[in-house]
């Protein structure tokens, strides 16, 4: 069954207005939609990230669901424990890790890999704003090639880690990428993940207007363009079988890059190089889609 806007509007969310998030935050947009799909029977585990701040200062919280704040590297391990504790009490609860890209790709990868290998029944969500935004825009393992951050003032020289594929290589039942520019695709992936038993992983491309220096009002447009230019392909790997969920008509990568000042000053050659990398990845995914099992 495919979720529609009417289904989403009926469900209560776990996000309350008036949080400390920046205007136009992609992470709150993703959380609003995800929490409506996951429903009230959900416990969140949040490592240090923007989302620890978005909850707002003690004694108030902008999240109306039970939420456990934990240290940077411990999110997946904590979620494993939370799920098992509820199981001992005889309760079946969705346990969801809501982590940033730093807490997933760099600092949290060890616990994440361990939980995936053990096959814990949790959903790990990485909302990826492609740098350490909370501490002031430092590069992370998810920052794309040639992007400006405060620690890569002339553009990052290294390729980002392909985190969804790293998790998929653990042979977990469900891995998906999503984007806040395609909210229905995102909602349906959460709906699917909710019903699967075992370790699930969803990687959300989440716009960060202050960090990317993109216009505040273009949060959705930037995230949509990322998909339409094949910069961020949307796919899911269910029991080893890869399927590209959105196949838009290709638009020039320049349209996506021009909206963000973090890519300002790229030379023609660098844009061509990025375009080539993007197309290589897309063709690779098309190739993988044809095979019976990816992992």
């Amino acid at each position: 069954m495919t979720l529609t806007i009417h289904d989403l509007r009926k469900e209560p969310g776990s996000y309350l207005p008036g949080s400390a998030a920046c205007p136009g935050c992609g992470a709150t947009l993703a959380f609003r939609i995800a929490s409506r799909v996951l429903g009230p029977n959900t416990v969140y585990v949040v490592p240090a990230s923007c989302f620890s701040v978005i909850q707002s200062p003690f004694p108030k919280s902008a999240i109306s669901a039970p939420l456990y704040n934990i240290a940077f590297p411990a999110a997946a391990a904590t979620a494993s424990g939370v799920y098992r504790a509820y199981k001992m009490l005889g309760k079946d609860v969705n346990v969801v890790v809501w982590a940033g890209d730093g807490g997933t790709v760099d600092i949290g990868i060890q616990a994440l890999s361990g939980a995936a290998e053990r096959g814990e029944n949790i959903l790990y969500v990485c909302y990826d704003n492609e740098a350490y935004m909370n501490t002031g825009i430092q590069r992370s393992g998810a920052t794309p090639l040639l992007a400006w951050t405060k620690t890569t003032p002339s553009g990052k020289r290294e390729m980002p880690k392909d985190m969804p594929m790293i998790v998929a290589a653990h042979r977990v039942p469900y891995v998906a990428t999503a984007s806040v520019g395609y909210p229905f695709d995102l909602a349906n992936k959460f709906e699917k993940a909710k019903k699967i038993k075992g370790f699930k992983y969803i990687h959300i491309f989440s716009t960060c207007p202050p960090g990317w220096n993109s216009p505040v009002s273009k949060t959705a447009e930037v995230a949509k363009l990322a998909v339409d230019t094949y910069f961020w392909p949307l796919y899911e790997i269910e029991n080893g079988k890869l399927r590209i969920t959105v196949k838009p008509k290709k638009r020039p990568l320049r349209e996506f890059l021009e909206l963000q000042d973090r890519f300002r000053g790229l030379t023609e050659r660098e844009i061509e190089e990025l375009e080539k990398i993007v197309m290589e990845k897309w063709n690779f995914l098309l190739h993988l889609e044809k095979s019976e099992r990816v992992f």
Binding site: I5, P23, T28, L29, K60
Partner: protein, 89 residues
């Protein structure tokens, strides 16, 4: 054990406006033109702050106490029914 130290459990309680009246951050306010609105609710879907709800007349209603004025609703509106208007002093 009477240690005489007050024990505070660090548990936050859910509340609207946990970071205060965030509407004060706004530079421009979104205004809905009900003649143009087709009630597709895309503004509701894309609002990062969850401040858009259905008003009594069935059209989108914006909670200006918490709306941060990011303008995502105006950007995604297919009929351009939402205008960003500069806040007066």
């Amino acid at each position: 054990m009477g240690l005489g130290v007050p024990i505070i459990v660090p548990v936050s309680k859910p509340s609207k406006g946990a970071a205060g009246k965030t509407g004060l951050w706004r530079v421009e306010r979104p205004v809905v033109n009900e003649d143009k609105c087709i009630k597709c609710w895309l503004c509701w879907l894309y609002c990062p702050e969850d401040v858009i709800s259905e008003g009594d007349n069935g059209f989108p209603k914006i909670d200006y106490t918490f709306c941060k004025g990011c303008g995502v609703c105006a950007d995604v509106c297919p009929t351009k029914a939402i205008q960003m208007v500069r806040e007066e002093e």
